[in-house]
Symmetry: C2
Subunit: 334 residues, 2 copies
């Protein structure tokens, strides 16, 4: 039985995983999930990426939206607003609240996030083993031009030495500001002190194949790789490591990865992302057929590359993408 380890962010990672499960029904799949976008809201611990994977693979996801629960209602949120308690910009539904209540209660009782995630998956039966990248607290922050400075001339950049810049939680950047202001840096706060969650290094050591889905290379996969030990375990593993480009035709397929890439000085192209990961990490890279001209550039960087359709337009298209990734892994292995 093939053992596949996948590093996953939210929507893109979750949808890819559904395709992978279809393409490799007999494989044992371990998912290392990003927790850098976790946030505490209303005193509750919210893990958007882990939940998106769990809900998507467990059949509870809001399909069109890509995150949150299907058939969701928002009574609790409306009531919180009636109490004047926010933030209003984060869309927590009633069904979703229950997940965060269970998680927070277990964490308060002393369980690590990995054990909590396992318990939640008892209900969802995602068909993969879902591990948080770490049980420690990591929160990605984004350094931006102060989004409130313009509206408040009393603040701004006078004398603070930071040029009117402010670090905001990734969710605030992504959801409240919709990445509409430029990001100057992305900092996974706490990552340098974090330890991989139990099972993460063991899964990588036992893996036959490691896959990077078309997730955000900076705030999803990049954050996972920022946990000391994980990048090294992947680089040292003597197995194929294959990724799929989240950039097609010079733009992110979904989300705002271009903003994040710019913040770390990487061009928004399929080949630039491959070079960013580098041949020390990646053995194979899939680009979309629209980016076929990028293949020689990637291969010149020492990374085997193929151009295949990379639009996750439906379950079957996604399963084909996963199959292509596994095929490329076998080419690398051979």
């Amino acid at each position: 039985m093939q053992r596949i380890v996948v590093l996953a962010g939210g929507i893109g990672g979750a949808r890819f995983l559904r395709g992978l499960r279809q393409a490799a029904p007999d494989a044992e799949i371990t998912v290392i999930g990003n927790t850098g976008d976790d946030i505490h809201l209303f005193g509750l611990k919210v893990c958007p990426d882990l939940d998106t994977v769990m809900y998507t693979l467990g059949g509870g996801i809001h399909e069109e939206q890509g995150w949150g629960r299907a058939d969701e209602t928002f009574t609790v949120k409306e009531e919180l607003a009636a109490y004047g308690v926010g933030p209003a910009w984060f869309g927590l539904g009633d069904r979703d609240f229950a997940t965060h209540i269970v998680r927070t209660q277990m964490i308060s009782a002393g369980y690590p996030l990995s054990a909590v995630t396992e318990a939640l998956c008892q209900r969802w039966q995602p068909g993969v083993r879902l591990l948080p990248m770490t049980d420690d607290r990591v929160e990605t922050h984004v350094l931006v031009d102060d989004p409130d400075a313009a509206a408040d001339p009393g603040r701004g950049d006078a004398g603070d030495g930071a040029g009117g810049r402010r670090a905001v939680h990734f969710q605030e950047y992504w959801v409240r500001l919709r990445a509409a202001v430029d990001a100057h840096a992305v900092v996974p706060i706490g990552a340098d002190q974090a330890k991989p969650a139990p099972g993460v290094l063991e899964a990588l050591a036992a893996a036959d194949t490691v896959l990077f889905p078309p997730s955000n290379p900076v705030v999803s996969i990049g954050t996972i790789l920022a946990v000391p030990g994980i990048r090294e375990a992947i680089a040292d593993a003597d197995v194929p490591v294959v990724g799929l480009s989240p950039i097609v035709g010079g733009a992110p397929v979904r989300g705002m990865a271009d903003k994040m890439l710019a913040a770390i000085g990487v061009e928004t192209t399929a080949q630039a992302v491959a070079r960013h990961y580098g041949s020390g990490l990646l053995d194979g890279w899939l680009v979309d057929t629209a980016d076929a001209d990028a293949v020689p550039d990637v291969e010149a960087a020492g990374i085997r590359c193929r151009a295949v359709p990379l639009m996750m337009s439906g379950p079957d298209a996604t399963a084909l993408m996963a199959a292509e990734a596994l095929t490329l892994a076998e080419e690398v292995r051979a």
Copy 2:
């Protein structure tokens, strides 16, 4: 302006307060609320009596039920059940959950319950000042014959020296067991170490009149009186203290006060409850017209007594009861 202090439990106290507000629209009313029935559920702090007062006076109560929110839904609870997380016997609705989330978040941030209650009342505008009896944790427990012993012969009373008795949280006794097993004792755990919340003793010292609504004399008013300093402040106040009997015709008007009275060895009669409070505390006592023959017995105990209709069948009937209590207070004062 008359200053009235009312000791209140849940449904009975809340409905009486609504009548009192109607009967004395210009009075400044301070409510000392029972918190002995508070319970932690799903990691959230739930204060059923405080919330019943707040929702009832603020127009958010489920009128027929007497507790919980109107137009309530139960999505969160259903989802918690899907995770296998209980208890299922406590009916927390989605709107209600928001209250507990706000409260728990504020308490986690370091605010005392009295400050939290004040903040919640900013929304509800109950028209009274609502104070918890204490900011300290008090939880009423009831000593019962082990309700699970019969179903589990491996447990029971063998060798545990307690005769198969078990202390259960008041809410478990009241809601899960529906008071269907005999109570042998009622213990407000933590009360002996509790301090009155800020404002409680000050309100009693400044009161013109103190009222005991037809609330449960044991687990509602009795618990408030168990907080050191409160009983003494009422007994020492040189103002009329008037109560309304929750027992009519030898039975509780609502709820299961008879079970609680039996646990402390008090008969379920209007006069026995008056004697239980005693003339050291009570100056006046209203019994229902059905209990007119109890009047001499109560007066013999040194407590002025009148028989008036005591069924809170609607707002006007309740306002009349409140007016009768204030009239009796004036008789005592004169």
